[in-house]
């Protein structure tokens, strides 16, 4: 109650700051939260009939080679009847009239009628806790030993190392310990597409493992960088679903009770753009013959709805116990009807499918798609939950084909790791028509608020929001309010807008979304008023202004490339401080009626340009709001590093991060840089992060954000760094792979730093 009273005041203050008048609560529902019983899209394991809910390590399920067809599986695991009754038949998909929305969008309709100031009580989620939470296990959230054996360091995605050999006092003495160039790089000038590399190394088995954008695995000595072995998948090097060759690394599993002398008791997993999952012995790099088809699992065999492109395995799987859990990446903006979002859990040694999660109700899936999980996941092994950051449905910028409730889209969804069943889910964007994919693994943390220890979860978003909920139940830690949002200008055929969207009250938004961003006078002057003219031709009614056909379109701030990206939030569990890098990026979106689109569409780049949205009545264009010189039209800073005190939800400090760079020219550091990638934090009181445009890697003080050290690398380090100890020496490793979203500079460099060795 204390929380609610205080948060109500905060909410009113924030709403006032946002220029929004909150409507007083009329209901106590939580629109974006669902329980298992409510979940219209909960899809238990396809093998549920064949295997008990405890399928997994002790109950092998039917082989991956003979999976049950997905459709059949769905029919074997029906939706909750009340939810199903709300779904229209797949053939009845024309744009829903406005009057139909309230029936078909229960998640938003309730809120629209009673937009409230406190949506924290989640009866559904509470029900989920009692009915679906697995038996807890005695596994601590924070590993007792220094661990960096997953994409985000630990399954809790804290990116935290308890090592303190390198600390705030001596970090300026860091020197390059070793450097490796993998040779797997392409700038796009030859026959190969550009390579984009955001892998975080995995430290396990006294080895450092890396995947490359040419779909090879490199095993290195952690102390010298010397190559132990390499594995080449010989995968096709085509940009099938992405604008570039892309890889985010590998995953590692080891048997709890290894069998002496047997291979593949420790396994490395590598995914490819063409949906193949390779499993190889971590000691030798030899394929594991017992895994699927001689070491290769064809995940595309489960791509059986709108299979317009392969299920690209760019993000390494998340390994939780004896579950190798993987989402996939698709082709954004291209199609209205696309593969519907799925997540698979397979046996680590056989590749047999254990369960499958479907984000979309089967009735809707054929005429929409995605809501996939393309980024990292996190897991609490003690609670037996895996947390999915679920992306937006397709097409990305028009929703007339999906006006029904899709409660698991653009959400954080907690699954029972043993069964794949939904325990709870929170939707962060209702009826997403902005490509606001939930794009990073939620960070799990135990926090003390008002004297109580709360098992919490922080979900950062592209919108610049940090949603904090109880990770057992999905309930608010600080209130998350449903607030009215713009309803469009009436130009878009078939569209039905969500009347409200969730807004967190604490921590405050990382971006100032209350009004149109201010024009940067320098950029405007240099371009003789080009920025002012652009601003005049862009509509904007506040956050969640829908796409339009008018003028130059609608201003998007934050936009799909801004806010917080896949690096997510790092967390120091000792000081209970969350660290996050946020980008201030303004873009603008315009929809073109199909006939007009065919005439005007030209090239498309990485995260901007024209895109057809085939099957929708509109193509789209998304551009950065820059002048003819490429200078941002909006005021700096362009990127910041932010520290949040999780005991209070208040910011400790925030400061510009990195420097912007164009054609080699650096902008002043107080302007900061747009960032891709994320931080790692250590018990030494140091934040390590690359991510900035200027291709520097840096160390900042946890205490005050002061820059303590930096070095130049070959391209922007667009992944989180890895921190580990090997033979008594602490290392921090950056992969400087680059990403053309930031700038046209890519590399194959891996570089490790350490303190100088003492004689």
């Amino acid at each position: 109650m204390i929380l609610r009273s205080r948060s109500a005041l905060s909410a009113l203050a924030l709403a006032s700051a946002l220029g929004i008048t909150p409507v007083l609560a009329q209901t106590s529902t939580t629109p974006g939260t669902i329980s298992p019983a409510q979940a219209p899209s909960t899809q238990p394991a396809p093998e549920t009939d064949a295997a008990p809910a405890t399928a997994g390590e002790t109950q092998p399920t039917p082989s991956a080679e003979t999976p049950a067809p997905e459709a059949g599986a769905e029919s074997a695991a029906p939706l909750a009847p009340e939810a199903r009754s709300e779904q229209p038949p797949a053939t009845e998909q024309p744009a829903a009239p406005a009057s139909a929305q309230e029936d078909q969008q229960p998640a938003t309709a309730g809120a629209a009628q009673g937009a409230d100031t406190d949506t924290s009580p989640n009866a559904g989620a509470e029900g989920g806790e009692t009915s679906a939470l697995p038996e807890p296990k005695d596994i601590p959230l924070v590993p007792p030993e220094p661990t960096w054996n997953t994409f985000h360091g630990q399954l809790n995605a804290q990116k935290y190392s308890p090592l303190d050999q390198i600390n705030a006092d001596n970090v300026d003495e860091l020197t390059k310990a070793w450097e490796v160039h993998t040779g797997d790089v392409s700038d796009g000038s030859g026959d190969l597409p550009t390579s984009v590399w955001s892998a975080t190394p995995v430290f396990a088995n006294d080895t450092l493992y890396l995947g490359t954008p040419f779909y090879r695995v490199i095993a290195m000595d952690p102390g010298t960088g010397e190559i132990k072995w390499t594995f080449d998948s010989n995968s096709t090097l085509e940009a099938m679903t992405q604008p570039a060759l892309k890889n985010r690394g590998v995953a590692y599993w080891q048997a709890e009770n290894p069998v002496a002398g047997e291979p593949c008791q420790k396994i490395i997993y590598l995914g490819t753009m063409d949906a193949q999952l390779f499993a190889m012995d971590a000691d030798t790099g030899e394929l594991c013959k017992d895994f699927a088809d001689n070491g290769v699992l064809n995940v595309n065999q489960w791509n059986d709805v709108n299979s317009k492109y392969p299920l690209s395995l760019l993000q390494p799987p998340t390994v939780v116990g004896n579950h190798v859990i993987m989402g996939w990446a698709g082709k954004d903006w291209a199609y209205a009807e696309a593969p519907p979002g799925t997540v698979f859990s397979v046996d680590p040694q056989t590749g047999e499918r254990q369960w499958q999660f479907n984000a979309l109700p089967p009735e809707i899936a054929p005429r929409t798609g995605t809501a996939n999980v393309w980024t990292g996941m996190s897991a609490d092994e003690g609670l037996g939950l895996v947390y999915l950051p679920v992306s937006s449905p397709s097409p990305n910028y028009w929703g007339g084909n999906r006006t029904e409730s899709i409660p698991l889209a653009t959400s954080t969804t907690a699954l029972n790791v043993e069964t794949g069943e939904v325990v709870w889910s929170r939707q962060w964007v209702h009826h997403d028509i902005w490509d606001y994919d939930t794009n990073s693994a939620p960070t799990l943390m135990d926090i003390e608020v008002d004297g109580k220890t709360i098992p919490a979860l922080m979900q950062a978003t592209k919108m610049g929001f940090l949603f904090v909920v109880n990770r057992k139940t999905g309930e608010d830690v600080w209130p998350i309010e449903e607030r009215p949002v713009p309803q469009g200008d009436g130009t878009i055929e078939g569209e039905v807008y969500a009347k409200t969207q969730p807004f967190p009250t604490k921590p405050l938004p990382l971006l100032d979304q209350d009004e149109k961003p201010k024009i940067w006078g320098v950029a405007d002057a240099v371009s003789f008023g080009e920025c002012s003219r652009l601003w005049d031709n862009l509509s904007y009614d506040g956050m969640y202004s829908p796409p339009t056909t008018k003028g130059e379109g609608v201003l998007a701030y934050p936009d799909s490339a801004g806010g917080v990206q896949w690096g997510g939030v790092a967390y120091d569990p000792v000081s209970q401080t969350a660290i996050v890098n946020v980008s201030h990026v303004v873009q603008y979106i315009k929809l073109y009626p199909r006939d007009e689109y065919e005439q005007v569409a030209s090239g498309s780049g990485n995260e901007q340009g024209f895109a057809p949205q085939e099957g929708a009545p509109y193509g789209m264009r998304l551009l950065n709001a820059t002048n003819w010189l490429g200078m941002p039209c909006w005021e700096p800073p362009f990127g910041e590093l932010v520290a949040v005190d999780m005991k209070t939800g208040n910011f400790k400090w925030r400061r510009p991060i990195g420097a912007s760079q164009k054609w080699g020219f650096y902008m002043p550091e107080d302007m900061g840089s747009v960032t891709l990638g994320g931080p790692a934090v250590t018990a030494g009181g140091v934040i390590f992060i690359g991510a900035s445009m200027d291709s520097k890697v840096r160390a900042y003080s946890m205490a005050d954000g002061k820059e303590l050290w930096s070095d130049i690398v070959a391209a922007p380090a667009v992944a989180n760094p890895a921190v580990y100890e090997y033979k008594g020496r602490e290392y921090v490793v950056f992969v400087a792979g680059g990403n053309t979203i930031l700038k046209d500079q890519v590399s194959d460099q891996v570089v490790a730093y350490a303190l100088p060795e003492k004689d």
Binding site: W663, G664, F665, Y666, M667, D694, S695, I712, V713, A714
Partner: protein, 116 residues
């Protein structure tokens, strides 16, 4: 026999030598890995401007006082200032030092003249 006022060679020599050093530094920045501006168009720009300053210094060495001298001097100063600004934005501190000496050379070439 006519008499021409010529700059003392010290000034243009300073300009030319400092510009040559600036050129070498800029080439280093362009081709050496991990300078932060390796292969960057901005670095290419200061390579060209340093080369032009070098040429400017050589011509000033031989040019008599007059319109041509004045024109080249002014162009040299503008080029040096532009290169300094570019160097600042490129974080090319050694280049800036070299170009600062070019500016000194230009001043010297204006102050010191010789008869020939």
């Amino acid at each position: 026999m006519s008499t021409f006022a010529r700059p003392q060679p010290a000034g243009p020599a300073i300009v030319a030598i400092a510009a040559a050093i600036g050129l070498a530094v800029a080439l280093y920045y362009y081709f050496m890995p991990l300078t932060g501006i390796t292969g960057a168009p901005g670095t290419l720009l200061v390579i060209v401007s340093s080369l032009l300053l070098l040429i400017d210094g050589v011509i000033l060495w031989f040019a008599p006082r007059g319109f041509l001298f004045g024109l080249l001097w002014v162009l040299g100063l503008l080029g040096a200032i532009g290169t300094l600004v570019a160097g600042w934005f490129l974080h090319a501190w050694w280049l800036m030092l070299a170009i600062a000496i070019v500016v000194i050379g230009l001043v010297v070439s204006l102050v010191l003249t010789r008869k020939s």
